[in-house]
C-alpha cells in the first residue's frame, strides 16, 4: 500500500482522470473548498470576537452586580410606601459579612461638580472611592497612582482624573501630577491620570477622590450612592443579588416583596448572555462549516460516480488485463481522498488569508472588533482528519459501483 502511494503511476492515473474533466473537477472541489473556508473563516472570526470581548472586559470583574436605593412601593412596619431608601456603609459591611459567595463589596458615592483650574473649567462626575475599586474595575493609569488607604485614613484632598478631564483642564503636554484643581471651590492635588477605556458601567466617573474626603466635603455621613458587589467565580451572581437585596430590605425595614425599593444592574447576568451568544455563534459556525463540508464531500462522491460510469469500459479493459477489484477500488478511493484533501488544503489556506485580511481590516488598534482572529492548529488538524475520513467513505461508493459490474458487461458498454 505504501509503495502504491509513492508510485508515479498512481498519481498519473489520478491526474489523468482529473484533467480529463478539468471544469467539473474544479467545480466539485469548490464545494469542499468553500466548506472548509467557511469553517476556518467563521471560527476565526468568532474567536476574534471572543478575544475582543475578553480584552474589553478583562479589567472588569464581570461577575458583579450594582445595587442602589430607590423608593419603597409597599407599606411595611408602620412606614408608608414611597419612603426614600438610602444605603449606608454599615449596610454594605453587613452584606459583605453575611451573604454567601461574595468576594468584595465596594461602596461608592457620586456627585457632579464644577471643576476649575486657572481659567479652564468643566462639569464632571466626582466619585468617592475606596482603593478596592481598582481591583474590581482595573483603572488603566497613564500617570501617577490610584487612591490608597492612607488617602482614606487622612481624608486627603487628592484626585485621580480621567484623560478627558486632563485634556480640558490642562495645556497640551503639561505635567499634571501634583498640580492643583478646584472642585467645589476646594483645592485637590492631582495624583493620577487614567484612561477611560471602552467599557464603562454606571455613570461616568471623571474624577475619583478618596471616599472619606467625599463624605466630608459633601456631608454624606454614612450614606452611600450605590454598592458594587462582586461574587466569587464559583457562585451564581443572580443568587448573590437576591440574597443581598433581601438582606438590605431586612436592614432597612422594607417589605421583603417590595420590588422597587432597590434598583440593580446585574452585570454578571448580562455578561453571561453575551458569552452565551458567543457560544451559540461558535456552535452555529461549526454546524454551518461541517454541514457545508459534508455537502462538498458528497459532491465529490457524485462526480466520482459519474466518472466511474463514464469509465466503465476502461475499467472493464483494465480488469481484462489483470486488474483485481481491489486495485480498481483503491485507485478510486485515492482519487476521492486526493480531491478532498487538495480542496481542503486550499480552503485552509484561503481561510487563513481571509483571517489575515480580517485582522488587518478590523484587528488593529486598541478598539479592534476582532482581536487575534485565529484558528488553532488542532482545529485545522481535526478538519483535515474529518475530510480524509469523509473522502474515504464517500470514495467507497463509486469504488464499489465500479467493481459491481462484471468485466464482461463493462467491456460491452459503449
Amino acid at each position: 500500500m505504501i509503495r502504491f502511494l509513492f508510485d508515479r503511476d498512481t498519481w498519473q492515473e489520478v491526474y489523468d482522470s482529473m484533467s480529463k474533466n478539468k471544469l467539473r473537477t474544479v467545480i466539485t472541489m469548490i464545494g469542499v473548498w468553500w466548506g472548509i473556508l467557511l469553517l476556518i473563516g467563521l471560527l476565526g472570526s468568532a474567536r476574534g470576537m471572543e478575544n475582543s470581548f475578553n480584552r474589553l472586559f478583562g479589567s472588569f470583574a464581570t461577575n458583579s452586580v450594582f445595587v442602589w436605593g430607590q423608593s419603597t412601593s409597599k407599606p411595611f412596619k408602620g412606614f408608608q410606601e414611597g419612603k426614600r431608601v438610602t444605603l449606608t456603609l454599615s449596610d454594605a459591611k453587613k452584606v459583605e459579612e453575611n451573604v454567601e459567595g461574595i468576594e468584595f463589596v465596594v461602596p461608592r458615592n457620586q456627585n457632579s461638580s464644577l471643576v476649575v483650574r486657572n481659567f479652564l473649567s468643566g462639569n464632571f462626575g466626582i466619585a468617592g472611592d475606596f482603593p478596592l475599586l481598582d481591583q474590581v474595575q482595573k483603572k488603566k493609569l497613564l500617570h501617577g497612582r490610584f487612591i490608597n488607604q492612607s488617602d482614606i485614613d487622612n481624608k486627603r484632598k487628592v484626585a485621580v482624573i480621567s484623560e478627558d478631564v486632563y485634556k480640558q483642564l490642562f495645556e497640551k503636554d503639561e505635567y499634571a501630577i501634583g498640580e492643583l484643581i478646584q472642585i467645589n471651590n476646594s483645592n485637590y492635588s492631582v495624583i493620577g491620570i487614567f484612561d477611560v477605556g471602552n467599557v464603562n458601567m454606571g455613570p461616568s466617573d471623571d474624577i475619583h477622590i478618596p471616599f472619606s474626603t467625599f463624605q466630608q466635603i459633601y456631608n454624606q455621613g454614612e450614606n452611600i450612592g450605590w454598592i458594587m458587589i462582586t461574587g466569587k467565580p464559583e457562585y451564581d451572581i443572580k443568587q448573590i443579588e437576591e440574597d443581598a437585596k433581601l438582606m438590605l430590605k431586612n436592614l432597612n425595614r422594607i417589605h421583603p416583596e417590595d420590588k422597587r425599593a432597590f434598583g440593580s444592574f446585574n452585570l454578571g447576568n448580562e455578561f453571561g448572555k453575551l458569552t452565551g451568544f458567543l457560544k451559540g455563534m461558535q456552535f452555529l459556525t461549526w454546524f454551518v462549516g461541517i454541514a457545508t463540508l459534508i455537502a462538498g464531500v458528497f459532491a465529490i462522491g457524485n462526480i466520482l460516480l459519474i466518472t466511474v460510469k463514464e469509465r466503465t469500459k476502461e475499467i472493464g479493459v483494465r480488469r481484462a488485463l489483470g486488474a483485481t477489484p481491489f486495485e480498481i477500488k483503491r485507485q478510486i478511493v485515492v482519487e476521492a481522498v486526493f480531491l478532498t484533501l487538495i480542496a481542503g488544503l486550499f480552503g485552509i489556506l484561503t481561510g487563513g488569508w481571509i483571517l489575515i485580511a480580517l485582522d488587518s481590516a478590523f484587528g488593529q488598534g486598541p478598539d479592534a472588533t476582532l482581536v487575534n482572529a485565529s484558528v488553532s492548529i488542532l482545529v485545522v488538524f481535526i478538519a483535515l482528519l474529518v475530510l480524509v475520513t469523509l473522502g474515504t467513505l464517500i470514495g467507497l461508493i463509486p469504488a464499489f459501483k465500479a467493481t459491481s459490474i462484471k468485466p464482461i458487461e463493462a467491456l460491452r458498454e459503449e
Partner: protein
Amino acid sequence: MLKISQLHKSYPIGDSSLHVLKGIDLEVESGEMVAIMGSSGSGKSTLLNIIGMLDEADSGDYILDGVPIKNLTEKKAAIYRNKFLGFIFQSFNLINYKNALENVALPLYYQGLKRRERQEKGKFHLKKVGLLDWAHHLPSELSGGQKQRVAIARALAADPKLLLADEPTGALDTTTSYEIMEFLQQLNDEGKTILIVTHEEDIAEMCKRVVRLRDGVIMEDKKVNQVRASQYV
C-alpha cells in the same frame, strides 16, 4: 494447452432463459492457431469470454495449461487473466488518455513490475509490432491498424500462454486486416497459441484450424491449409 468438455451456458431473458452453449468439447494444443467461426448468436463470443475468464460456464470443465478454471473469485480470475491470457478486441480498447507505450505497459503494471522494467518490456513489444517511433503518441493520433498493433503489443506484454482475439479485424479495412493477420501468423510461427473469433471466411482461412459453431454446438472442426497473409500484402 486448453481442454474444454461439455460446456454449457445460458443467459436468463425475462422469465425464460437462452441456452447459448449446448455442450462444447474443444481441445487446443500449444502452438495452434484456431479460428472460431459462426454467425452472430452462434455462441462464439460467449465461448471466447468463458475461455478468457470474463464469464463463467454453468456446467462443464475447462482446464487451461493444467489449471482447472472453476469457481474463481474476481481476484483469482484477474490474476489468471494477467498471467495466462492476452486479449485483442475488435474495437482495440486502448485507454485513450495513455500513450502507446503506457497502454502496452499496463498489464505489466498489474503484474507489479517496476516502472523501469515496464518501460523496457513495453518498448520491446512496441518494437516488435513496429511502432517504437510512435511510443509517445496517444491512440487518437494512430490509424486503425496502428491501434490494433498497439493492442497486440499490449496483449503480448505480459507474455501470455494464449492470445484471444475477438474479431481483431472487424473494424479494419481489408489491407490493414491482412497486415494484422500477417503479424498474428508471425507470432504463431514463433510458437504462440492464438484463438481468433471471426465471421470472415478469408480471415479464418489464414488460421491452421477452423471450428464452426451454430446454435451453441460445434458443427465442424477441421484443420485447414493456412493461407499466408503475406501474399496479399
